[in-house]
């Protein structure tokens, strides 16, 4: 009877995979480096933001003072573009940081819920990085082909 019940518990809870000491060790090392990378990422985003404020402002002034009529409209557009790029880089860093924090706490306090939360952020991180890479790649390819077509049509 007890074996039957155990089997039921096994089937109900999971497939028998657990977070054993070896896996805990791997996870805590991953968390350590993930946190480091996230902090580096945040520093770079801050630097990017500062340089955006400086360069973007200068560019906007330059464009606004130029004789081209569109100048005034381009300034804010550049700022919005920069903000979008910064947001794009901020999202994975946030996921990475959350993954690191939650998983670390989950292991420390043996809290299943926190660990699940950490793994959920791990998933979001990889998904975002994957999609971002593909999108950037597509943009690059389109730019190259667009450039080739433009160069050929100019001849």
């Amino acid at each position: 009877m007890s074996i039957e019940k155990l089997e039921i518990i096994d089937r109900g809870e999971s497939s028998g995979l657990s977070i054993n000491p070896e896996l805990q060790d791997h996870l805590s090392v991953i968390c350590k480096w993930a946190k480091f990378l996230a902090i580096i990422g945040i520093i770079f985003i801050c630097l990017g933001f500062i340089s955006m404020l400086l360069a973007g402002g200068a560019m906007a002034t330059l464009l606004a003072s130029s004789t081209v009529g569109m100048g005034a409209a381009i300034g804010p557009m550049i700022t919005i573009g920069f903000l979008l790029i910064i947001a794009m880089y901020f999202v994975p860093v946030l996921y990475l940081y959350r993954f690191s924090n939650k998983t670390k706490q989950g292991i420390q306090f043996t809290n299943q819920e926190l660990l699940n939360g950490g793994m959920n952020n791990f998933r979001k991180f990889w998904k975002f990085v994957g999609i971002l890479t593909i999108v950037l790649l597509v943009i690059n390819i389109v730019t190259v082909f667009g450039g080739i077509i433009a160069a050929m049509s100019m001849r």
Binding site: S2, K5, L6, I9, E13, S14, S15, G16, L17, S18, I19, N20, E22, L23, H26, L27, V29, I30, W33, A34, F36, L37, I40, G106, I107, T110, Q112, L115, N116, M119, N120, F122, R123, W126, K127, V129, G130, I131, T133, I134, L137
Partner: protein
């Protein structure tokens, strides 16, 4: 032994499990790490082709060409290693989730650990080099 006791000791002795939610999350990571690994391999292959392409040019350049070639191969290794780690991670994880194998799961996370460690150390090294260049550049300007 009582069933409740088994469960209780299981929970309190620091035993956490891979439940269904986590399994679903891990499955998604597997897909994307595989995509990233394949993209990494493709770019490494392209870099390898360009390395062989410039091999002729390097061989004409002599000693400095050899240095350039070694650097290029080194760069290629740096590029290919994280992709390989991600590839092994996704392969092992997939097998672990299908076969419910704890050993394979541990191996998968071992590769993920190597990946994160490698990227982390790489960034530290690049920063150190950058800082050194900055300092020496500054000194060269002053003196």
């Amino acid at each position: 032994m009582d069933i409740n006791e088994i469960l209780d000791t299981g929970m309190s002795s620091g035993k956490m499990i891979i439940n269904e939610q986590m399994k679903a999350d891990l499955k998604v990571t597997k897909t994307w790490t595989m995509v990233l690994a394949i993209l990494g391999f493709i770019f490494s292959a392209l870099a390898l082709i360009s390395t062989f392409g410039s091999l002729v040019g390097f061989s004409r350049a002599g000693a400095s060409g050899l240095v350039g070639m070694v650097t290029m191969v080194f760069m290629l290794a740096i590029y290919i290693f994280p992709s390989w780690c991600l590839w092994k991670y996704s392969q092992n994880l997939e097998a672990a989730l299908i076969g419910n194998s704890q050993v394979l799961l541990n191996t998968a996370f071992l590769y993920m650990r190597r990946y994160f460690k490698f990227i982390g150390i790489l960034i530290v090294v690049f920063f150190s080099l950058f800082l050194l260049m900055f300092i020496f550049g500054g000194m060269a300007t002053i003196f």
